[in-house]
């Protein structure tokens, strides 16, 4: 059923339709609306047979999820930013134990300085944590991916992180086709755990594993993620058969066939990029975009195949690996190992900085002419940066950067009266 609603609400509805049995909730922007919505639905009895637990921290949220999942309950939680970092130890633990928890990450920057706006630093920090990470481009996809995520997680017995851009998607009202319960039930069978804490068949879960077997355990975790490379497209196809729309998959090519320049990106920015590319195509420019839907596992072959004709690649990413630059770009380089292609990294949209069509036009054109430096920071205010660099060079105690920048920016101007 088509509905004009907030992204968070669409996700909450999708999770509710997936018949969760335990939901752990801890507030952190911008995921809060999702668990608020779920809380209301559980209290109102719209979600049956579900425990909604208000925990005392994200660490507890993931820990409760570990317990309930291990005890055989379909389990969901959501977090973002500092919250994800606060639960990191448990995040690794959930995947290490192979527990099919589904978690929304409403992507948000990580402080300091504290910043509540969107970028991908949070989930990127967990790229090696052993969770499957899938990114939503739209709210429709965010809703669909959650339903798929439960199936994916439970078939593999691995946790899945559904990443959606904080605020940009979570707080955006747009048209979403909310599936029916019948559709979801047809697609998603009841949870049948691969391992379970059960007095009728006791096991010890979470043994200490020494050097004699640890490498094997880690390899098996890797091998299991690799299975997802086959399963994700399969599930996406099954989804399409029942729901009548294509959602998910490993990668999403757009205008790629003949594109000399290919932009790679994740999440909601793909929409703005597509609009930009449409405009550039109208100008006769050979450019396309490849959206990465599954960041972990990283679809190396699919990306390599999709980029076989491209001359140059611009990886536009909403995160920064301080000290090297691109996170996604590094992975893309690995995917293109041995191929002769220029690869540019554009770090964009950090901490909620708007990514506009005009800026995209500019960098894409620079890339096309190979005038772009290998690592480019989109719309960086060099004036501010240089001032601060100078200040630090001359003054030992130059003060906090954020405050200095605000001082430089001065008061917000009004051109009225």
């Amino acid at each position: 059923m088509l509905k004009q609603c907030e992204g968070s609400h669409a996700v909450a509805e999708a999770v509710a339709l997936s018949r969760p049995e335990v939901i752990c909730a801890y507030p952190i922007s911008p995921q809060t609306h999702i668990v608020e919505g779920l809380g209301e639905m559980v209290k109102a009895g719209e979600i049956k047979d579900c425990e909604y637990i208000n925990v005392e921290s994200e660490f507890a949220a993931m820990s409760v999820a570990i317990g309930s999942s291990a005890a055989g309950a379909r389990t969901y939680t959501a977090t973002a930013s500092q919250g994800l970092l606060f639960m990191v130890e448990a995040v690794y633990n959930a995947s290490g134990l192979g527990l099919p928890i589904v978690m929304t990450v409403a992507n948000r920057a990580i402080g300091a300085p504290i910043n509540i706006w969107n970028d991908h630093s949070d989930s990127m920090s967990q790229r090696d944590c052993g969770w499957i990470q899938i990114f939503a481009e739209t709210n429709q996809e965010a809703a669909d991916l959650h339903i798929q995520a439960f199936k994916l997680a439970e078939e593999l017995s691995l946790p899945v992180m559904v990443c959606m851009d904080g605020f940009i998607l979570t707080h955006a009202y747009e048209r979403v086709d909310i599936p029916t319960q019948e559709q979801v039930d047809k697609f998603l069978p009841p949870y049948s755990p691969r391992q379970i804490l059960d007095p009728a068949a006791p096991v010890s879960i979470g043994a200490m594993v020494g050097p004699e077997a640890f490498s094997e355990v880690r390899y098996l975790a890797h091998a299991k993620q690799m299975q997802a490379l086959e399963l994700i497209p399969k599930i996406s196809k099954e989804f399409e058969e029942i729901f009548g729309r294509n959602s998910g998959g490993l990668v999403r090519p757009y205008m790629l066939e003949d594109a000399e320049t290919v932009v790679i990106a994740l999440g909601s920015v793909l929409g703005t990029i597509k609009d930009t590319i449409d405009e550039m195509r109208a100008d006769g420019i050979s450019i396309g975009v490849l959206g990465i839907n599954s960041f972990r596992p990283f679809p190396v072959s699919a990306i390599r195949r999709a980029l076989s004709h491209a001359k140059r690649i611009v990886v536009l990413e909403k995160s920064l690996a301080v000290g090297i630059g691109g996170i996604v770009a590094t992975d893309v380089r690995m995917a293109l190992d041995g191929l002769d292609k220029r690869i540019y990294t554009v770090v964009a949209g950090l901490g909620g900085r708007n990514i506009t069509r005009s800026s995209l036009h500019r960098v894409f054109r620079m890339a096309m002419h190979d005038q772009l430096e290998a690592l480019h920071f989109l719309d960086l205010d060099w004036n501010i940066v240089n001032k601060e660099v100078d200040r630090e060079r001359t003054t030992r105690r130059s003060g906090p950067i954020a405050e200095n920048i605000l001082r430089d920016l001065g008061q917000t101007k009004s051109n009225v009266g």
Binding site: V203, G206, A207
Partner: protein, 541 residues
């Protein structure tokens, strides 16, 4: 379940890890010698029979007890219970009332009519027992159990020896004695009363005895030369007590003086009170704490109105009065005369100065040796003449019923071995379960049960039994006060406290075993064993 590799494991699989290899010391169950058993002259396995009594299985307790002593009802009344003096519980609150439980079991056996089992097989050997006192009866019982034919020759008209003729009724009712004697005879022991052995070797030859056990009591009163008027009435304690068993009770008068400080002196003084004496005065040359008599008997006598005159010797006995000389103790505690004299009114004087044994039956037996009026025996209770054994009052030792019973038992074992041409070797004595070896934390505080005493008026005027028995409730309570020193009583502590589950519980009555596959040798079981029945030993390297 398709379990993830290594992370998820099958339950209980650590049994594959034999942690016993960590051990350098190992625990081992032991049976130590409880101090009560150690102290018992009759060799009773006190802790052993109390164990059965604790669970209310009195017959099992009685059967276990009577392996050492066939007369628990008697012993439960007349034994001076050295076991209780040695009892470790005495250091906690008060000793276990072993004697009272023994009496309860003895009385219960009489009440229930429990009998001794007949011997499994007859050996065909004939053994003569001379004297039907505690030692003779004990030997007869043990020998009969071993399958020998036993004939007791008793010079007196009734069985019991000093138990009958030396111990007043108020301490040992005669029906109790009769019942326990009869039960021994019921095993097939032959008793010939009024049969005095004059010539032992002749009797043995004539009746084809293969061996003899002599257990003649010390019935002859010791005399002392005291100047006395002709009309002075001087009696001896043995005779007085013996005459209590006959038709004619002794005439003692209103004022009776008893001379001596042993148990017999007390017995006769208390008897005199019961016979109607207004005054019964014990004259003793030393002080109360030097008296050979047991303190509780002195106390009971005092309660009944018997008077004591300490530090006094009788110098002269006149008609209706005696003269005593005051004594004082020298540096060594020896009484020395002071030269001060006093006069006491006395209608009769009873001498209780000790007894001798009539050794006449040994005339003509060669190779014997004697000492202080008794016959010497070896470790095996045999006299210098092969096949003739002796015990009880006849041999050098304390003269108590319990010692006598012990001699009878020991002699029987030696006789049995001698008859078989072998030697009885006592099992090696186990390590003593001393107080330090116990972990007494585990025992609840519980004071001894006090036995009921007859009221004072009836004690002074009748020969009813002074000390009552325990009823089942308090006998059970008393039995359960036993600490089971040095012997496992299945408290499950070792089984419970082992951090490695390395103790195997074998089930009721079967106790425990260590599972050395897993025992790491921490020693917690040893430390926490309440009764000291486990010890640590170094592993063989």
């Amino acid at each position: 379940m398709n379990k993830p590799f290594a992370i998820t494991l099958n339950v209980g699989s650590s049994l594959a890890n034999k942690t016993g290899s960590w051990r350098s010391f190992r625990p081992a169950y032991v049976n130590r010698l409880p101090p009560c058993n150690n102290a018992c002259p009759a060799g009773e396995d006190t802790q052993g029979w109390l164990f059965h009594a604790e669970s209310g299985d009195y017959e099992a307790a009685w059967r276990h007890l009577t392996e050492a002593n066939p007369m628990p009802a008697v012993m439960g009344r007349v034994c001076y219970h050295p076991c209780e003096g040695a009892c470790n519980r005495g250091q906690l609150d008060s000793a276990v009332g072993i004697n009272s439980v023994e009496r309860f079991l003895g009385d219960e056996a009489i009440k229930q009519g429990w009998k001794f089992a007949a011997p499994a097989a007859e050996t065909g050997k004939r053994i003569l027992v001379v004297g039907a006192g505690p030692s003779g009866l004990s030997a007869a019982y043990q020998l009969r159990r071993m399958g020998h034919q036993v004939v007791i020759f008793e010079a007196g008209p009734l069985a019991g020896g000093m138990m009958r003729f030396g111990i007043p009724k108020y301490r040992l009712p005669r029906e109790v004695l009769d019942a326990e004697v009869q039960r021994i005879l019921d095993m097939g022991v032959e008793m010939r009363l009024n049969t005095k052995v004059e010539d032992l070797l002749k009797t043995m030859k004539e009746e084809k005895f293969d061996a003899a056990f002599l257990a003649v009591g010390a019935h002859i009163a010791k005399r002392t030369a005291i100047p006395a008027a002709e009309s002075a009435k001087i009696l001896d304690a043995v005779s007085v007590l013996r005459s209590m068993e006959g038709e004619d009770k002794p005439m003692l008068g209103r004022r009776v003086v008893v001379y001596g400080g042993g148990n017999t002196a007390i017995d006769v003084a208390r008897t005199a009170k019961r016979l109607g004496a207004e005054e019964a005065i014990i004259v003793y040359r030393r002080t109360r704490d030097k008296m050979p008599a047991h303190d509780f008997e002195v106390e009971e006598a005092l309660q009944e109105g018997v008077m004591m005159r300490w530090l006094s010797t009788i110098k002269q006995v006149g008609e209706g009065a005696i003269q005593v000389e005051k004594m004082e103790l020298d540096e060594n505690g020896k009484p020395v005369p002071t030269g001060e004299f006093d006069t006491l009114e006395a209608d009769s004087v009873i001498l209780a100065l000790g007894q001798d044994v009539d050794l006449g039956l040994l005339n003509g037996v060669p190779d014997l040796s004697f000492e202080d009026g008794v016959v010497k025996v070896g470790e095996n209770m045999m006299t210098g003449y092969p096949g003739i054994f002796a015990g009880g009052d006849m041999v050098p030792s304390d003269r108590t019923v319990t010692v006598g019973v012990g001699h009878g038992k020991l002699a029987a074992r030696h006789i049995n071995a001698w008859l078989a041409g072998t030697t009885y070797v006592k099992p090696p004595k186990k390590e003593l379960a001393t107080f330090e070896k116990l972990n007494t934390w585990y025992y609840t505080d519980a004071d001894k049960t006090v036995r009921p005493m007859l009221d004072i008026i009836r004690r002074q005027s009748t020969f009813d039994e002074v000390q009552g028995g325990l009823n089942e409730d308090n006998a059970l309570f008393e039995a359960r006060r036993c600490l089971s020193c040095g012997n496992c009583f299945e408290c499950d502590n070792c089984y419970g406290v082992c951090p490695d589950n390395a103790v195997i519980k074998l089930g009721p009555g079967k106790k425990f075993e260590f599972n050395y596959d897993y025992c790491k040798g921490c020693g917690v079981c040893v430390e926490e064993c309440p009764c000291g029945a486990i010890k640590m030993e170094a592993e063989a390297s």
